[in-house]
């Protein structure tokens, strides 16, 4: 999971300070693994250095001053590129895919396109495995079947999510 891209995606909703970003991240994506503060600030300083975020003033409060960060045009382009690039098909990538779907919906982009690009990438890999299986011996067939069933599980999740996008869009808009 690319924390940098997730934070950039969250910043597309408007400037936030680090603590606020961490809270938003944990609420949406960090159910099992909340971010450490150190991770948030080191990621933000890297994004700042790369020109993907800029400082957007300081929020005064009771405690220490809090810097606010805003996404830059280069940052938006980077999120676009990330959302538009299918994940390398491999098992257990649902967390990243789920985040992509949520961020696409949150930002008014097409979550259907994210899912379609992923389906296409998965099927391309599955075709390669099916060809290898057809030409191979039983060991090849079993090894390929193992991978095929795992990829199929991803795809079943994708189809289910595609069928429930409207429901999900309503849920995250709450």
């Amino acid at each position: 999971m690319s924390i940098g891209h997730a934070l950039l995606g969250l910043l597309e909703g408007g400037p936030r300070h680090g603590y606020d970003l961490k809270r938003a991240y944990d609420e949406r994506f960090g159910h099992d693994r909340p971010l450490h503060y150190g991770q948030v600030y080191s990621t933000l300083s890297r994004l700042l250095k790369n020109g993907f975020v800029s400082e957007a003033g300081v929020e005064a409060g009771d405690g220490p001053e809090r810097k606010r960060y805003a996404i830059t045009d280069a940052g938006v382009t980077d999120v676009e590129r990330w959302l538009g690039t299918p994940e390398k098909p491999e098992p257990y990538l649902q967390n990243t895919l789920y985040a992509k779907v949520v961020l696409a919906l949150l930002s008014g982009r097409s979550a259907t396109e994210v899912l379609d690009a992923q389906r296409s990438a998965h099927l391309a890999t599955m075709r390669g495995l099916t060809r290898r299986k057809s030409d191979g011996d039983l060991a090849d067939q079993l090894i390929c079947d193992f991978a095929l069933f795992h990829l199929e599980a991803d795809l079943r999740w994708l189809e289910l999510t595609a069928a429930r996008l409207d429901e999900l869009a309503e849920e995250i808009a709450k």
Partner: protein, 224 residues
């Protein structure tokens, strides 16, 4: 070369709109998976492509011949000579032996019994079901029955085979065997296959996929 082209198909059943502007292109010899959730319109699309169902509007063109304006008898002949069909269930005639079932499309086209049955035996051997030639469909296993159906679909040397969930009633292993034999035979004979399926592992036998959602098809090849 484009073999079969569907454009802007609309089809309703009563107030249910099954197709709303679906279209796709099938080239000679390619295997195309038509995917999509249940109720998305993929089977209706296949039935319109094959000339089984007339669309309410839109065109289906097979080798420059417009299916939607053809007479019923011309369309039936086209289906019998140029197309082959494999469905999920109930496509074999229960009173006939498996051999007679496979020979049936040739007999309907006027081929002599002996010649039709010789061709049928060759195809049954290719699909590894020659052992059940003299049995009736009810006496075979599900996997054997489906392979008999594939032999019947291919016996006339069709240019397009329409397969609607051909492995839907089979377990994984039998489904794999049917898909392997169907796609191998289609590639050897140069037949195109339009494969409707919701199973990704079945779709992985195709060359490319078209996704149908809410009655519209998304031809991934043209989007890329």
């Amino acid at each position: 070369m484009s073999l079969l082209v569907a454009q802007d198909l609309h089809k309703s059943f009563g107030r249910t709109r099954a197709l709303e502007g679906a279209g796709l292109t099938i080239r000679a010899g390619e295997i195309v998976a038509v995917m999509g959730p249940s109720g998305s319109g993929k089977s209706t699309l296949l039935h319109c492509l094959a000339g089984i169902l007339p669309p309410d509007s839109g065109t289906v063109t097979y080798r420059d011949r417009e299916l939607t304006t053809m007479s019923d008898s011309a369309r039936s002949e086209l289906r019998r000579t140029e197309f082959g069909f494999v469905f999920q269930f109930g496509q074999l005639v229960p009173e006939l032996t498996c051999l007679e079932n496979v020979a049936l499309p040739l007999r309907l086209s006027g081929v002599k019994r002996r010649d039709a049955e010789r061709a049928a035996r060759e195809w049954m051997a290719r699909l590894e079901v020659d052992a059940v030639a003299d049995q009736r469909p009810g006496e075979t296993s599900g996997g054997q029955g489906q392979r008999v159906a594939v032999a019947r679909a291919l016996v006339t040397g069709p240019k397009v085979v329409f397969a609607d969930e051909p492995t839907g009633a089979l377990d994984s292993l039998n489904g794999e065997r049917v898909m392997h034999l169907l796609t191998t035979a289609a590639r050897e004979t140069g037949a195109a296959v339009v494969l409707v399926t919701h199973e990704p592992r079945v779709a992985a036998y195709s060359d490319r996929e078209v996704v149908v959602r809410d009655g519209r098809s998304r031809d991934v090849e043209f989007v890329r």
